[in-house]
């Protein structure tokens, strides 16, 4: 397995979307480089107001700096477009706030590199992992995992996970306008499945975010819940998901 990993790592693009993460980005880059020395680290700076881009560049990452803040999903998609353009064989996405552990990355990469899945989603809830998030986050995840499991036809415990590995076919699909600009979650998993791509869920360990502002604060959870239900509903109404 290890031979296979090093062999494929050269074709690996690690996409880290970052918005005002100057505190965490250096540590994340270091741990990713230690865990996946042959991967190309691409930090997508989503119009940060702090020194995220400078910090990432000084730590040797390739930085894609968006001139304006376009949202988490659109930032990820920038990385996908870059990965596709540079013809990377595999892509890994992980958050810049330090909650995704780089040493766990191989767990999501293996099913994709072995060709078992086109997209592997790291789940903090499946398996015997202990993760304590905020109440609303746990509740939201529970509702959407039930909804997603029901609509996908297999069990998904963590559809909001931003710790994912995928092959080029999936990256190509994610570069289409189908990919949501704000929070890509269960809706995009459903669209991916409907496009004929295979999805696997893998248990991984995660840490609570080290700092920075949570995406799920203030009134956002309410909008988020509305958006999830509505976009899942609309995803089913669309016939052209594959395009």
């Amino acid at each position: 397995m290890n031979d296979k990993m090093t062999d494929s790592d050269k074709k690996l693009c690690i996409i880290i979307p970052a918005y005002n993460e100057e505190q965490n980005i250096a540590g994340v880059i270091k741990s990713v480089r230690n865990a996946l020395p042959d991967g190309t680290i691409v930090v997508v700076n989503d119009g940060s107001k702090d020194k995220t881009a400078e910090t990432a560049i000084s730590h040797g990452a390739t930085v894609l700096s968006l001139p304006v803040n376009v949202g988490y999903g659109a930032a990820l998609q920038t990385g996908f477009k870059y990965s596709l353009k540079k013809r990377f064989q595999f892509s890994l996405i992980m958050d810049a706030d330090g909650q995704h552990i780089a040493e766990e990355a191989h767990k999501v990469l293996i099913p994709v590199m072995q060709g078992i899945a086109d997209l592997a989603v790291g789940s903090r809830y499946s398996g015997d992992n202990v993760y304590r998030g905020s109440m609303i986050r746990m509740l939201g995840s529970l509702i959407f995992s039930k909804l997603a499991s029901w609509s996908l036809g297999f069990k998904v415990t963590d559809p909001t996970s931003g710790f994912q590995a995928m092959n080029r076919r999936t990256v190509e699909f994610f570069c289409s306008p189908v990919y949501p600009s704000d929070f890509p979650d269960a809706d995009i998993l459903i669209a991916t499945k409907r496009a004929g791509l295979k999805i696997a869920e893998v248990p991984v360990k995660m840490l609570p975010p080290a700092g920075g502002k949570s995406m799920h604060s203030g009134l956002k959870p309410f909008y988020y819940i509305f958006k999830m239900f509505f976009s899942i509903f609309v995803t089913f109404l669309r016939k052209d998901t594959a395009n």
Binding site: V44, L64, V70, G71, T78
Partner: protein
């Protein structure tokens, strides 16, 4: 409809139309956006001149007063125009996203060559 009311309605509608045409002439308003506004202006003129049409529509939709018919249609037009703008803004947001992504990737490849 009293004559003063009629004249007032006509003057207002014609003024609106003139402003729209003038904005298009000065290229401050694009033709594609002026369409709904021009229709609004023309409808206002027709309804203020042709009172019997207004009364007819009032009866047809079950309203009591011709003025409420005018307000209803005014509101409907505003709703349509706002919806039209929401659609345009969604499209612009998507285009902005694509341009921003393109700029980010191009900038990175320029820096690579330095």
């Amino acid at each position: 409809m009293p004559l003063t009311q009629k004249i007032f309605a006509l003057v207002v509608s014609v003024l609106i139309l003139i402003v729209i045409v003038e904005l298009v002439r000065r290229r401050r308003l694009r033709e594609e956006y002026s369409f709904l506004w021009i229709i609004t202006g023309i409808t206002l003129i027709i309804l203020s001149l042709w009172y019997r049409l207004l009364v007819f529509i009032t009866h047809a939709i079950g309203a009591v007063l011709p003025t409420s018919t005018l307000f209803l249609f005014g509101l409907l037009f505003l709703v349509m125009i706002s919806l039209h703008f929401s659609v345009k803004i969604s499209k612009l947001t998507d285009q902005l996203k694509d341009v921003a992504q393109e700029v980010a990737i191009l900038k990175a490849s320029l820096d690579d060559r330095k």
